[in-house]
Every structure is written in structure tokens, then in C-alpha cells.
Symmetry: C3
Subunit: 334 residues, 3 copies
């Protein structure tokens, strides 16, 4: 595997192989599989889980990693093309990325959405521009519109729990949050659940519809897998019989890039905080999922997060195993 950018770019068989490899490495450690191998981690945005899980993944396989963030360069990294660099930035990403890659066997890049123009972010233009500069195996550690490591981990988590594929009802629910968050996780998640063959409902208030291209991509996956994808603001209908409520906040797509309008759109939506009552008509043992970090009492009530339905810690832990599988396929000799 030369690249791990988007679950939609690999086949269902390749996903199964990665999941199977992740389970194998969880059960049977291979502490010398990647000895002498180096993973470079470039974080253009902060990270806790991603940094820790990748460093742990590489270490468990006997390899090593190093971390670069813009504040390590003398005056930040310039990203604009064709610019005369007479300002603060002393280094351009066009040098920084190839240099970092030149020290490594694989490179992970995190670059959040700019959240100014929706089309720009939907096309993942920043990530695609960085990608052109890399000639070694590349891992998307969350771009403007994707987060395949999270999706692979979430898929494994549902498998581990025995949650059904065909006939499993997956609700991706918008939740309140004081800030206009990126579309990466909801976009990746709706596609992942559809690719897994589940019946997916996107539950969100008006103004927070997922973009049509994202929905279409998920519907395409569902058609192939035998699942389905719908979108609604009817909470009662959405939650009934659900196996999973996957909560996530995201920016208003109607007012994308216009913060005052976005803020107005989410006024009065503070009741979109998942509490126990949301599970009244779900499957009896329905699960609560979230990619973390999560704001307690805002996105989800303590009673859910601290209760038996929550699987947020296994989800986070599976980040490590999913990434071990990706790294093993990219860099392993067997």
C-alpha cells in the first residue's frame, strides 16, 4: 500500500485485509516487524490521540518516529505558492515536506480544513497540494474532508462489539458545539458506515445538511455494500431501532465560512446534546460513539459518556491497531 488517503480509494477486500491484520497484531505483537524504519509525523494542527497512537503504533512494531510542527521551524511554514517570502515565515512547505519525507519510510500529514470556502475544502485542495510533494508512502492523519484512520478504527470497534453490518442501523447525529468544526469526521464516518453495509441515517438540524457530494459518495458505497443512506431532522424516526448513535458536531454547510451566520444558525440548538433519553427507542444495547475530543455536557451528557453504552475509549485504542495495520502493510517486508 502506497497511500492511505480515503477508505473510498481502497476496495472492501483491502479494508478486510487491514482489519484482519489489525486483529492479528492486537493478538500477536510483532516487536521487530519494522525495525530500522522511520515514520515522519507532520502536524499542521494540534493532536493528542493521533500523535500518541502513531508513535505507539510505530514503537510496538519496533520502528521509530519523529514529529514536526510549524512552531519547530524558525518562523513558521509558508504554504502559499509563488510568494515572495519577505514576511515572517523563513521556510516554505515546498521544501519542508520533501525534506521531512526524505528522512522517513512513510509520512503522516494532518492539515485541518480552512473552513472558508466549502468547495475548496470538499476538494481537499490543501492536502492534495501537499500530496504532490511526497514520494514515499503517505498517510492522511485528517485532512479537510477525510479521516480514514478514524474510520478504520471505528469499523474495527463495531466488528469487535459484534454490531451487525447488513441490517445494522447507524445514526450519525449532529451535536451542539460552541465552534464551527470541520466536516472531516462526519464525511468520513457516513461513508465508512455505508461501506460497511449499514443503514445510515444522518440526523441534523436544518442548515447543517452534509454536502451533496459527501452524501452521494456514501450512497455509492451503500449501493455496492447493500446498505442505505438517508438524511433527516426527524429525531424520533432516526433514533428508533438504532444500533449506534455516533455523535459529532460540524459547521453549518449553509453558512460555511461565515462565522456570525453559523453562530446564529446554532443558536437554540443546545438541546442537541446526547443524553440517556436519546436511547429510549434504540436497540436495547445500542452504543454511543464519538471520535474525541468531546465536550462534556455540551455534545454529550456525562450519564452517557460514563455509562455502559459509551465505546469512545475502545474507538481511540483501535486507532493504534488500525494504524499498525496500515504501517505494517506499507513498510513490512512480509
Amino acid at each position: 500500500m502506497k497511500e492511505f488517503q480515503d477508505l473510498a480509494l481502497i476496495t472492501p477486500e483491502e479494508v478486510e485485509n487491514l482489519l484482519s491484520l489489525a486483529r492479528r497484531l492486537e493478538a500477536h505483537p510483532e516487536p521487530r516487524a519494522l525495525e530500522g524504519k522511520i515514520l515522519a509525523l507532520l502536524f499542521l494542527n494540534p493532536s493528542l490521540r493521533t500523535l500518541a497512537s502513531f508513535q505507539a503504533a510505530m514503537g510496538r512494531l519496533g520502528g521509530n518516529s519523529f514529529v514536526i510542527s510549524p512552531d519547530m521551524s524558525i518562523h513558521g511554514l509558508e504554504t502559499r505558492r509563488g510568494i515572495v517570502m519577505d514576511g515572517q515565515a523563513a521556510e516554505h512547505i515546498r521544501e519542508a515536506i520533501p525534506v521531512i519525507a526524505s528522512y522517513a519510510d512513510a509520512l503522516g500529514i494532518r492539515a485541518f480544513a480552512e473552513r472558508e470556502e466549502l468547495d475548496h475544502d470538499l476538494a481537499d485542495k490543501d492536502y492534495m497540494a501537499f500530496r504532490e510533494l511526497v514520494n514515499i508512502p503517505l498517510i492522511n492523519m485528517e485532512s479537510a474532508i477525510n479521516h480514514p484512520c478514524q474510520s478504520l478504527a471505528d469499523w474495527k470497534t463495531m466488528d469487535d462489539l459484534g454490531l451487525p453490518r447488513a441490517g445494522g442501523k447507524f445514526v450519525l447525529s449532529w451535536a451542539y458545539h460552541p465552534r464551527a468544526l470541520p466536516l472531516a469526521v462526519p464525511s468520513a464516518t457516513v461513508h465508512m458506515a455505508a461501506m460497511r453495509g449499514m443503514d445510515v441515517t444522518v440526523l441534523r438540524p436544518e442548515g447543517f445538511e452534509l454536502p451533496e457530494s459527501i452524501m452521494q459518495k456514501a450512497r455509492d458505497a451503500a449501493q455496492f455494500s447493500g446498505g442505505s443512506v438517508t438524511e433527516t431532522d426527524d429525531k424520533a424516526a432516526a433514533l428508533e431501532g438504532a444500533h449506534v448513535i455516533y455523535a459529532k458536531s460540524w459547521a453549518s454547510t449553509k453558512h460555511y465560512g461565515h462565522l456570525p451566520n453559523d453562530e446564529k444558525a446554532r443558536e437554540g440548538l443546545k438541546h442537541w446534546c446526547i443524553n440517556n433519553s436519546w436511547f429510549d427507542t434504540t436497540q436495547k444495547d445500542a452504543r454511543f460513539m464519538h471520535c474525541l475530543p468531546v465536550r462534556r455536557g455540551i455534545v454529550v451528557a456525562d450519564e452517557v459518556l460514563d455509562g455502559p453504552r459509551s465505546v469512545v475509549i475502545p474507538e481511540a485504542r483501535n486507532r493504534m491497531y488500525a494504524q499498525m495495520a496500515v504501517l505494517h502493510q506499507m513498510l513490512g517486508t512480509k
Copy 2:
């Protein structure tokens, strides 16, 4: 060993085993003992020695480590319970700690004293709250009231130097410092020296008495080991015949949490700076110890720190060997 929280919670035999293992690993490296193992290091406060010595310890045993600090999370870590997270912090420690632990085979946590309420800090309430969130082997990298890694290293340093246990006179001396520092090191140190069987004198000005519970804990250890523990402000009596002067500043316990009163209490105490004259009536080859970092010309004179009595560098180096022993017992297969 599942936890390394406090020397008082392990037996003297277990201490001897750790010291013996530390000496063995110093003499005979085991660069594959912990291959594929991961140590997570969570620093809620800054660190130089602890970070470097733990990373080096893990690397020397063939394992790997990763470091997390609050500024790596998007907007810091929330620690208060039951809070509605509508402020800056985007992640709660109740998620962060289990997630970090889920990637690792052992976890080290550093969380300094709040220094607001003495009882809160004496009960080590913050560390204890974090501890409840961890289900893997846990190492105290300095809590409000303890620092067992420093104590084990100091014990080894005295053994290495041939400093006597029974009959050895250990003076823990308060020293001037412009800030009200935590009680962790003095509390751990007085107990360690008592547990080692030494005759321990705590030398400090009025208002800087160590808390009674700390003194009682040390006296209990002395009763078992055959040592003794006393407290005084009589410098001449304290220093006479001493084998070790262990300097450390700490906050006024009389004015704990009240910075203006603490400041007033330490006015006029600038002569509590250990210089060569402090060794006039000690043992001829008495040693100067300090856990570092130390302020030159404030806590101790250059003539002592740069002279032959000072063993602060071996103390720091022994942090690594002590921690290698702890990690080897926690994670090693033999």
C-alpha cells in the same frame, strides 16, 4: 509491580530488589528487555530531568515512549468533574487519561501540587483522582506530596557513595527561594532517609515546619528501620556530624496557600543558602544533595555546587537507573 506511587507502599525488601536491579542494569545493559513496549508520559507540569531520564530509560531497555502535555490538546485539558465544557478546554482528563493509557503498557503522570489547601495536597487528591482513571501500571512522576522516583535515585546515590544507613546522619535543610515551592520532594525525602535507617534531622526556620502527617509517616518508617526523625531550627546542632546535607526549599506550611503571608515569612531568610561554612562541623567528607533544578547563589553557593561535596549530577543520573528498574519490574518478562 502494578504501581510505583510511594516508597511507603512497598516493603524494604522490594526497595532492595529495585536497587539491586538498578545496579545490575547499570552494569549490564539489556537493550532488548522491553522491545515492543510503550511508556506513556503525561506531564501536567514542565519537566527536563524526568522527561529525559524516562525516555532514556525506556530506550536503553529497547522500548519506546511518547510524551503528552496539555498544550498538545487543542485547547488544554479540563480537570473539573461534572462541568459543562463551554469554555476553552475541548477535552476532559476523564477521556484523555484512559485514551493515553490505552496506547501504552505503563503510564507516568506528573501533577504538581495546587498549593491552595494544605489538606487537599497532603491527601494527594489530584493524583488520586487521576489514578482512578488508569488500568495499566502507573508511575508517580511527582505528585503534590510525593516523588518516589527521586527518592529511589537518592537512596541508590547514597548506597553508591557508601554513605552509612544505620548511624548515618541525614540533614534535610530548608533553603531560601523566591517562590513557594511544593512539599513533594521534602516529604518524600524525609521518609526515604528514615526508611533507609538513617538519623534524620529536618532543619527549617519557624513557619516552615513539615506537616505532622508527613513527620509521622517518616517516624513510622524510622521505627521499623531503626533510624530516627527529629525537626529543629537549631542549625549548629543539626549540622554537627552530618553525613549529608540535602537542601530543598518549600512553601511555608503555616501560611500554605496565602502567597503574601508566605512571602513575608521568608523575608529575612536569604541567609538560608548553603555555603562551605555549613560543612564546618559535619563529617569531613559530608555530601551535598539536591534534586535539581537549583538556583545558584540562592539555594546553594557556587562553591558548594562546583566543589567535591556536591553529588547532584550522580543523583540526576540515578533517576534513569532507578526508573529502568521500576520499568523492568513492571513490564519485563523475566
Copy 3:
């Protein structure tokens, strides 16, 4: 090898051995050569390439590293001698360096020039003061006046490209930059090219002459190697027939430490930006070199940096192989 401070302090044969070892490790990885070994990296200034390439180098050889920078200490590191530490800094470099070294098998130190007094920087006084505190193998990761890792990497890069030693024309050209940069790279570079036996021309505007001691050191090396060293502001004569244009900006030596005068001296020098026309009379396949980071459109035009003449990425990559050779010679058992 106990120290890697300056190419001038090792013999040409030792340089050849390092280059040969670097090539061997590039072709034949040795992922267990340094297992259990620890490299400490102390950065008193920021770094991207040096940090990444050293961490990768150590990891590729099976060892491990840790990074310390002043912001990891509680309130920064004091460097002045004999000071009473009643200010912000809670730790002195006189403790910090020996402590860090005590955890490691080798230590790298980066300490940029103060750029206040030329004689101070030419004598590398800060680095020399740090050096006295270290009793393990020491690597200069860029001091006030030297950068031997960069020089060794540049030498290897020219060897890899088949650029001639005897008869090779090497032009070190000053370039415009908004800030008064250190002399470390130009000083190291002019000596390296002379030691390699090349005919070296330093091309720079008036007021930006390299210091006489630096030029003499390079001339001494040239005398031994059969090369030559000249200095000029005649661009046409300098560039004619060149095999390499190595661009670098540096502070005015005439106005060293006086920023307003330096700024005035570089007014009107913005045309010192290397573009394709600089290669009109060079060798047909002449190369562009630069140590990075580089300001696009200021030091060098995009057309050069993005064109086939530029070898800045191989130069950066060779940092890793050069450093692997140094570490292997310092710490390897074979």
C-alpha cells in the same frame, strides 16, 4: 571519535572514512547497530532538519534519542556564570548540560551566534563554554561559527553527483535576506569546499566580506588539498565556469552586531537573488546548493529552486546519512 566539532579538526582521511561509512549505511541499513544507545539533543535554538535528521538517523541504527529545549525547563535556562539566580530562570546550564549528558551515550548541542561581538562569535565562545561541561561524545549541531554536519552532508552530496574535487569551481555566493543571519554556514562551507580540493570563490558585496580568520582557515585547507580560495564582488568573473553556486545570506561583518547599520548596508542589495541568469556562464550542468531553510523569491528564484539545477533536497537528505556515519563511529562497537 569523541567529538565532531569542526571538519578542520579531523584529517582528510577521517573525512573519507565518514563519507565511505555514510555511503555504506545508505546502501546497507544496520537497524541494530546502536541498539540500547541514547542520543541527547539539546536545542538552544529552533530546528526542523537537524531535529528530524538526527532522530531519524538514530532510529535507523536501532538507537533512540530525546530532545531538550529551554522551554522544557520550568522558567528557561540561565547561561551566565557566577550569577545569583533571583530572576526567572530556575535552572543553570551548568547543571542542565551535565544532567542531560548523564542520560546519553552522545550529546548534540545547537547554539546559534549571539551576533553582538564578532570576536566572541569567531572564537565560538558559547559553544566552547558548553563543551567544557560535557564528558561524553559531543556533536556540534550548529554553533556560532561552525556547522560540520551540514558540511559533511554537502561534501557527500557533491560526491554523489560526481562534481569534481581538483579543478571543481565552487562559488559561495552571498544572497539578500531581510535579517542579519549567522556566519556559521558560510564559514563552514568555504572551509569544506577548500578541504575538498576545489577552487573556491566567495562572491559577496562590499561590507559582507568573510572575516580574515575564516578566510585564512580555508586557505590553509586549500594549501593542503591543492585547491584555492579567493574573494570578490565581481559577479561575472566569479560565476564563469562554476560547477556549483552555493547561496547563503549572512550578516554584514563590517557592521556586525549593529542592526541599523547592517540594514543600511543591505539596502539596495535585493538583486542578490539567484535566478536562472546567474547560470548563463557557469558549467552547463552547474548545480544550485543551499542548506535550507531558504526564502523563495528573496534568496533564490522559484525557477532555480524548482528546476533541475537545485540539489537542496539531496543535501538535506544527506544530513541524515552523514550523521548516521558520525553516530556509528562514535557509538558503534564494530
